[in-house]
């Protein structure tokens, strides 16, 4: 039922202290001071305090004191409204429902929904229920609750999407919810083989029962796994995931009309490329579609952006007159993106920046890796670029001259000029959901493999957001606005001098995602819509036994401690702050009233 719960209920014992003022009131009420005075007759006509009014005031004072003490105890007990949230100790059944693309086969998700409803209905009466939906990531659809109608409502809303399948991610999330209590996990899935990502982590805690409800995948599936425009033609790959040869029409649809069509024969479990000439419009999208009524529906089509897309210009400013090594790693990393077509990287020594003039000014983003060779014109140009709305990533490496940096940026960054030696310092994202760090969500440890030997200590500033920190606590990556522009600062270097970060696998996604983040207004408009993942189109499935054997059993002690859900709730609601505020108000009132009474 809806009610109030406490994270630290033991603190409620402190509410017993409220008895102290009550007892004092009861036992010391007669101890008021009596003063013998000769001129009492002169006091009579003075406005003396009436007994009843005084008594009322005393009772009010008592009430305020008791309220203050109770609120203090309540605040320390960390209250939260759990709604129908089950108590942390209640046994829990977690229903994990697969929402990946492979569940888009006709009728497949309805079956999954029915299975989930049955699982909810058959759960032990003493069990609370929670529902998570999983594909590439797992999200909690219903927090642990005893309200079965909430489960039914959530299951009505859930639908399959375009994501891949990641079983371990789902199991890790389920384990996190169960925590240390008695639990049971019901996984409703098509047991797709592609769901076992090698780098994923997660299992089921010891003692937690696991039930797998398997939904048979379709016998075959046709998928458009890639499509691109080449001159006036569309080239697409069609994959046949069935044990029999199929002949299938491939259609090109633009502006809602079919503009080209061809039939293709694909062998069993084979693929075929189709090259279709068509009168393609100059702009807009074209869709490559195959008819596959029995297979997964979300991979039957793929969208191609028709207009020519120019690479996004990015300038990399280095302090390397030889042009041999400066910016090499950043340049190579950026050329990986979009098969080399996403970014047009221009690496310039500082002396050539001013000469670049308009080219530099038109760049979508600028990576500043060195400033020592920047002349006055170059410094002013970057300054104007940033203040006018430019996007700059600054790496505070050894090639950055702290003395002239304010001229370059137009702001004082406030950092220690001498680098800090922190051998083996790793990088930790403050918020893994930030666009730069999204690729590092799974596996979560990838960013932690980055080791930095030296960095500059950048002081925290109110207008600066710290996106990531080194393991010692110093800022690693920050973001701030400068004028109309945005400045992202990496406090070490990106040229393999102070760290071996450029040699780490995380470097390329970090650099590319940073560039995409800085140029996201342009990137989003140019990028083709992402289709379904090719691997997800393969309906090959494991057996329940194989699935169960593949699951790691984890030690409960290693799990996130119990009550994390409750803690999340409490953390969001923060009733303790309100309690303390009201307590302070009560104390202030008590002080005022008490002052008048004395």
């Amino acid at each position: 039922m809806f009610g109030i719960s406490f994270l630290s209920p033991l603190f409620l014992v402190g509410a017993a202290a409220a008895a102290v003022p009550i007892l004092l009131h009861l036992f010391h009420r007669r101890t008021e001071v009596v003063i013998d005075f000769p001129a009492v007759s002169l006091l009579k006509r003075a406005p003396v305090q009436h007994h009843r009014r005084r008594r009322l005031r005393e009772l009010l004072l008592l009430a305020l004191r008791v309220v203050a003490l109770i609120l203090l105890a309540l605040s320390f007990a960390r209250p939260y409204f759990a709604g129908a949230a089950a108590p942390d100790s209640a046994p829990l059944t977690v229903i994990a429902i697969d929402t990946s693309m492979s569940m888009t086969a006709p009728g497949q998700f309805d079956r999954a929904r029915d299975a989930a409803s049955r699982a909810a209905a058959s759960a032990p009466a003493a069990h609370a229920l929670a529902v998570i939906g999983f594909s590439d990531a797992a999200s909690v659809l219903v927090q642990p609750t005893t309200d079965r109608s909430a489960i039914a409502a959530a299951l009505d809303q859930v639908a399959a999407g375009n994501g891949g399948t990641r079983f371990r991610t789902a199991l890790a999330r389920a384990s996190e919810i169960i925590g240390a209590r008695e639990g049971r996990v019901v996984v409703i899935t098509d047991l797709q083989q592609a769901g076992w990502e090698a780098n994923d982590e997660g299992g089921v805690p010891d003692g937690v029962d696991l039930e797998v409800i398997s939904l048979a995948p379709p016998p075959g599936n046709l998928a458009v796994t890639s499509a691109e425009k080449r001159d006036r033609r569309i080239v697409a790959s069609i994959q046949n995931y069935s044990n029999s040869e199929v002949r299938v029409p491939v259609r090109i649809i633009a502006g809602g009309k079919e503009i080209a069509r061809t039939d293709v024969t694909i062998g069993a479990n084979g693929a075929a490329d189709v090259d279709i000439a068509a009168a393609l419009p100059a702009s807009g999208d074209a869709e490559v579609r195959v008819d596959d009524a029995a297979g997964y529906q979300a991979d039957n089509a793929r969208t191609v952006r028709l207009e020519a897309v120019a690479a996004i210009p990015i300038a990399v400013v280095v302090a390397d007159p030889t042009g041999a090594v400066g910016g090499l790693y950043v340049e190579r990393a950026l050329t990986v993106a979009g098969a080399g077509r996403e970014f047009d990287v221009d690496v310039r020594d500082g002396r050539d920046v001013a000469a670049g003039g308009e080219d530099v000014s038109r760049t979508a983003a600028m990576f500043v890796l060195g400033t020592r060779t920047l002349d006055r014109g170059g410094r002013e140009l970057i300054n104007r670029y940033l203040a006018g709305g430019g996007q700059v990533l600054l790496a505070l490496g050894p090639d950055v001259d702290p003395g002239t940096l304010p001229d370059v940026l137009g702001v004082q960054l406030s950092f220690d000029e001498s680098p800090v030696r922190t051998p083996g310092a790793t990088m930790i994202a403050n918020d893994g959901r930030h666009p730069i760090f999204r690729p590092f969500l799974n596996p979560s440890g990838a960013l932690g493999d980055v080791q930095v030997e030296q960095h500059r200590r950048l002081n925290d500033h109110a207008d600066r957001t710290v996106l990531a920190r080194f393991s010692g606590g110093d800022a690693a990556l920050t973001e701030q606005t400068v004028g109309q522009g945005r400045l992202v600062v990496f406090t070490s270097d990106l040229d393999n001098q102070w760290s071996r970060f450029p040699l780490n696998p995380a470097f390329v996604p970090f650099t590319v995602e940073t560039a995409r983040y800085l140029t996201r207004n342009i990137s989003l408009a140019r990028r083709s819509p992402e289709g379904a993942k090719a691997a997800e189109s393969n309906p090959a499935a494991t057996t329940v036994e194989e699935f169960t054997n593949a699951i790691d059993r984890t030690n409960r002690a290693a799990l996130r401690e119990a009550g994390s859900t409750a803690r999340d709730l409490e953390d969001r609601q923060r009733w303790w702050q309100i309690g303390l505020l009201v307590m302070l108000a009560a104390l202030a009132g008590e002080a005022l009233l008490g002052r008048r009474a004395t």
């Binding site: 001071v33 009596v34 013998d36 000769p38 003396v48 007994h51």
Partner: protein, 297 residues
């Protein structure tokens, strides 16, 4: 070298042994100080005789000495000794109040003792009446040698009375006093002001001079209490709960009004009024007495 204090603190006097010693200390100290002061002419401490010289005022001739010795002597600084003084000391329970080291009653008894001692030195005749709502003790006026000791002993053994009723003893005493003299009233006057005034006027009607020593404690004048309390009347036990901060101004206004009433009305009636705080030196009372006595004589 530190200058000695001109006046003795009543709290210091209180620590001296008997009331005899207290009275003597107060008076001797007072007179010693007075000799150095501009008020020297008031002193009637000793009588000095010298032979008559031509040019002396014949009014100053001591005819009694002439009658006994047939010689002419001029009396110098000698005052009349036929002054009869009645010392009225209020011993009601309200006089037992004291915020400091001494109570109003102690202060009043020291003052009365000192006055008695002074009168004795001046060969005046004096008596003592202790009263609350009635006359509690009475020593008739006398100038005999042992009378001072009797008065001081009575002051030493003073007993706290009950309620104040100044008017009644005054009326009784006014009826009893037949000879022109002087009445000294030592009281906190916490009674019906009109009744007090009425009682004192009886003396004036009979030609008796009156000096009123209004004794109050500093706390009665300032009401410096801070904490809310129940104030219990020392005579009636009536209690009033009050928050001092809220009634202080009103109370002070009332007590000052009472003082102003006495000062004005007594002045109009030809009665000397002297307000004394128990923290003030007793010599101020003696000074007021001498001023009044000078007028009488």
């Amino acid at each position: 070298m530190a200058r000695p204090a001109r006046y003795l603190d009543p709290a210091v006097i209180a620590r001296l042994g008997t009331i005899d010693l207290k009275a003597r200390t107060i008076v001797e100290g007072f007179l010693t100080g007075l000799h150095r002061s501009p008020y020297k002419g008031f002193s009637v401490e000793f009588a000095e005789y010298r032979q008559y010289l031509p040019g002396d005022d014949l009014a100053n001739l001591d005819w009694k000495v002439f009658a006994r010795s047939d010689k002419h002597f001029i009396k110098k600084y000698e005052e009349e000794t036929n002054l009869t003084c009645h010392l009225l000391l209020d011993v009601s329970r309200s006089m037992g109040y004291g915020s400091g080291e001494i109570t109003k009653l102690q202060y009043g008894s020291y003052l009365t003792g000192a006055l008695a001692y002074l009168m004795h030195r001046q060969r005046d005749s004096f008596g003592l009446i202790e009263f609350d709502d009635r006359i509690a003790a009475l020593l008739p006026a006398s100038a005999r040698a042992g009378h001072l000791r009797a008065v001081l002993l009575a002051l030493e053994r003073i007993k706290m009375g009950t309620r104040t009723n100044v008017a009644k003893p005054l009326r009784d005493l006014a009826a009893a006093v037949r000879k022109r003299g002087m009445v000294v009233l030592v009281s906190d006057l916490l009674d019906d002001p009109a009744a007090v005034l009425e009682g004192l006027k009886h003396f004036r009607i009979r030609g008796t001079d009156v000096i009123v020593f209004h004794i109050l404690d500093p706390y009665e004048l300032q009401f410096p209490f801070e904490q809310a309390a129940r104030f219990r009347d020392m005579e009636t036990d009536e209690e009033v709960a009050a928050v001092p901060g809220t009634i202080r101004a009103d109370y002070i206004e009332k007590i000052q009004g009472l003082i102003a009433f006495y000062r004005h009305e007594l002045g109009v009636a030809g009665i000397d009024y002297c307000l004394l705080e128990t923290s003030q030196p007793l010599e101020l009372g003696l000074m007021a007495y001498l001023m009044t006595r000078r007028k009488v004589l």
